[in-house]
Symmetry: D2
Subunit: 343 residues, 4 copies
């Protein structure tokens, strides 16, 4: 940590800053600039993390230097992690695809969707049984009944199941049926829920919050890892910006940034990322090319009848067409040996 003093800070001010640093068992070093003095902190900064050094008189601001997350960081774990999800590795050489409806609406709808997902080449079936909805009057999901349909679909198709868990009380139940627990964007900083899924050993897909910084996202993963569950997969699903033509702004540079900062895998959700079915394919292709480890997409046997997220769902035909392109591109990327970035 570096503390930047005001140009008019007194010797007394500096003394107080040094004292607070030393009180925390750390060493301080003063550096004289031409206009301002700065104080460097030497030692483990987490001991000062909650200290209010910025509130001392004469302090302009402090700048954090080391990262607050450790377990998620590539610094301490240079090798990329591969997460095994019931036999399907994520983060290795193979690109994975998860597809299915936004919500599990009925047994028929789900089984039909599963067949289509399978036929197109996906390894996972997605489908929400617990639906967080903006309005209390919108469809809220079939809950455990939906989970049972997901389990049946797995049995029939062999597809792995990824589904969202929205509350602490449901973690055990969802973990019984799902192979991959999804933490949704609105719950990215529901710390109690993060801890709860951290206490299972189920792989967790952690979606980025609506307006979460990369640092907050990595720290949310840290909550899960810190409870003893090392199986975290990030999912970029678009961030909220001023642009309204797309539902969110898909931040594909987050793929490259997470790969640089962390050893954990990251997949991309172009459905929520754009909110418009016609932009899913180009964004899916872009995700493959920039080094993402997989995709999660909304596909519906009949999008126009979907109980939620219809406009961003692919029809079966659009899905097959997309999968054709994605599969070819993923194969090319692997075979060509193009390295997307130095990690």
């Amino acid at each position: 940590m570096v503390i930047i003093m005001n140009p008019d800070a007194t010797a007394e001010n500096i003394k107080d800053v040094i004292e607070m640093i030393q009180d925390a068992g750390l060493a301080a070093k003063v550096m004289e600039g031409s206009q301002q003095r700065i104080v460097g902190v030497i030692g483990d900064k987490t001991r000062l993390a909650s200290c209010a050094i910025d509130a001392l008189p004469g302090v302009e601001r402090s700048v954090s230097i080391s990262k607050s997350y450790k377990l998620a960081s590539r610094e301490f774990h240079p090798q990329s992690s591969v997460i095994d999800v019931d036999g399907v590795p994520i983060g290795g050489d193979e690109f994975v695809v998860m597809a299915g409806p936004c919500a599990v609406e009925s047994r028929e709808q789900l089984l039909e969707a599963a067949e289509i997902a399978k036929k197109g080449g996906a390894q996972f079936l997605r489908g929400g049984a617990y639906k967080p909805r903006t309005s209390p009057y919108s469809f809220q999901g079939l809950e455990e009944e939906g989970l049972k349909y997901l389990a049946e679909a797995k049995e029939k198709t062999g597809l792995r199941i990824v589904t969202e868990v929205t509350e602490v009380e449901a973690v055990q139940t969802v973990a019984e049926y799902a192979d991959l627990l999804q933490i949704g964007a609105r719950n990215m900083q529901n710390f109690r829920l993060l801890k709860e899924v951290g206490r299972t050993q189920k792989p967790v897909m952690l979606k980025r919050g609506l307006a979460a910084t990369l640092d907050e996202w990595l720290n949310a993963a840290e909550y899960i890892l810190n409870e003893g569950n090392p199986n975290v997969i990030f999912c970029e699903r678009g961030i909220r910006t001023y642009e309204t033509y797309t539902r969110n702004t898909l931040d594909l540079s987050a793929v490259a940034a997470i790969k640089h900062l962390s050893h954990l895998p990251i997949i991309v959700d172009p459905s929520h990322g754009t909110g418009k079915w016609r932009f899913i394919k180009p964004m899916a292709l872009a995700a493959v090319a920039c080094g993402a480890d997989g995709l999660i997409m909304e596909m519906h046997p009949n999008p126009a009848k979907a109980l939620s997220d219809g406009p961003q769902s692919l029809t079966p035909d659009n899905y097959y067409d997309l999968m054709d392109g994605v599969t070819k591109l993923a194969k090319f990327m692997k075979d060509s040996g193009i390295k997307t970035q130095d990690l």
Copy 2:
């Protein structure tokens, strides 16, 4: 709802749209524009809310016209609501102030803060016992021990207690000690938690999410109201924007907007809103002038020793100075008869 068709939509496309509307038990009306046709929906749009009309071929987009929240809306409740919090009315003629430390750190710290808050003229003591923190390694709060100190402080000073509840399991416990339950920004769309506080009759202060729209915020209130708890108070605490000089961007126009759209009271948190103690006073004065019903502020007996949020905490002296100005201004606004807006 109005459905805007593509310029090249076919008669068949329009027929499908009309059919879907009629399937939902509603009536449709087509209007011919010079370049495009639009289809209007007549009837209760919540029946179509989850329908995926945008996914139909030939549809460009649909525009929602009526609001998805009802109980929170001023339309159906023209009179402003006054919420009674253990004898202190919020939303009426009197301006209320809530002050205290970010976190309850110790019995001594809290009781000292309570005396200062009281002396300055606040009606409420704030203080977090459950702390949602970005990093798992930061101080997470004293939990029930902290609640007991808050209760003791109430006994000693008569101040009402406002404190955050972050998880479903803690709602009953927090409700035993607190007069006003705070739902924090990160939990604004933790729908399970909203429902749980909605099942109590305790007044709830609902903070705006980091990047929540007014519509999402009003719908979050609707979750609480819809469970039978009518005692909701909004709290504007700044939104996340591109500007980083302030921690958040305090959106005071949200005060005027919420007053226009809803009958519920709204207070302002200039501490989180700005993140810098020196801007709290000017923003507190602005909040009074624009018609807010109260303020919630972080004040610490010794901000430089605070375990969290030090930089945005007022010292006791700054707090007294602020309260002097706020009290005078609130009195002036009341006496002068200046109406901030037509509701």
Copy 3:
């Protein structure tokens, strides 16, 4: 400037960084942290401003410490500046109001608006003769003819004239008619235009860019000041955020921040700031209370017939009502001796 090295930076990397600093005629000082080393730069950092130290191997990032603007900074000019605009001081004890239509539409409209502005108590008449419009097919302004009407309105009412200049070629012409040159939000970083108005001695009102940081805004002022024109007045007019209910998000904390960072006056535009006439009054009152030096507002004799910005224009009656409140509040703030902040 402080340069933060990667944890795995080599001694060679550090040597290169030091060398680059010394090449720029500055001194470097290395500080050993527990995990990372940092290098401090001593001397006038503007000599390194365009240097690409971040691109050196082993560098994680650099943090700028001193400010890039000087003339606009309160650090080097502790006393608040009062700008004289044809006899009307801005930035002193008196609150100023500028009102008038978005665009000069006709002689009749403008003279009528001027009479209303005057009657309500404004000191300035606003009205655009050159209109920057999103679409090339929208009304683009009456240009010099509009300026003549403004001059006539000044003659008739004594109101000072503030009007926008959008292009270098028009600066001389606009300066002949206007008392205060407005640089619009879209031109805040039109550096050529900034320099041109900097070469006149006319006071300049510099609106904040749609998504400009405070630092960029202060640097834009620096362009004007650096050409020899010390008469700059900031105007906060709302920033672009994800919220769409209001046209922009009025950032009133920018008033407090600019007062803290700069000696120059700042006024507020609640019309563009909110985009809705019904929120102009509460935001105008808030602007007075938080220490702004004045207001600029859109008012139209008949908003429903306005050629631009109708929805955010006040009717004459709304304007009189607002002015009544603003005048009383401004008097109260002055008489009560409430200090909005320590500068």
Copy 4:
């Protein structure tokens, strides 16, 4: 245009709205909803564009239906345009690359950069002679001297030249030397400058503004097209969001959206889009895969000595490596026949 009335709008209010529509020579049609009435406008909405219908009593808001731009729209020009830039087609089957330093710093630096750009396979050399800089104290460019070096580099290498023009007075001069005129992000709504380049027949590369919506961007292109210059190429260069780890957030969905909405080509600038050299390659690959027509990137013979934008410049080695991947991927995309989207 559709006008949504307040639930409590009177018959008189509706009559006034209809009258205003009819006054503009258009027809109105009222539709009764269950809670609210709406009024549809039939005819060419540009005749109402500047009308202030929202300001009429009883009006809640109006929703624009048809687009304000025509010449840029794919609706009226279904075939994708291919822009010829001195013999190099942009927007057709071949992917183009523009590379070079941020700023022209010296004859030697530029000629060296040109050789590297050429060797790597680029078709264009980029380099700024007029530099818009946040601070007036930063390096502002070599101006015409820089243009001469660019011309010399073209002569020596055959590379086409793309360079920024920042002011109306310089358009003629820059057009003499450049093959492609760049309008920078800060000038996207410098309408006077747009008109000026619109009066030449030189191809124009129009960068997206820092916080410009797609609609504003398309309208900015309309300014150029409307002056008679059909040769416009869009350039996505990242937008300003709350995320600060990357300099901007590269919005690759804008590529898909512009392709859908317009017939004009679009290229991507991953250098400004990310601000970090290490993320340029993955974003460049993503741009190829999602259907962009080309790339513009900053490359410097010695980034650590660059006078501007060093941290986001590629070294020659990184550039060759990137070009190897981009070239292979572009060839694969073309040969494989993968269609990124239906236009």
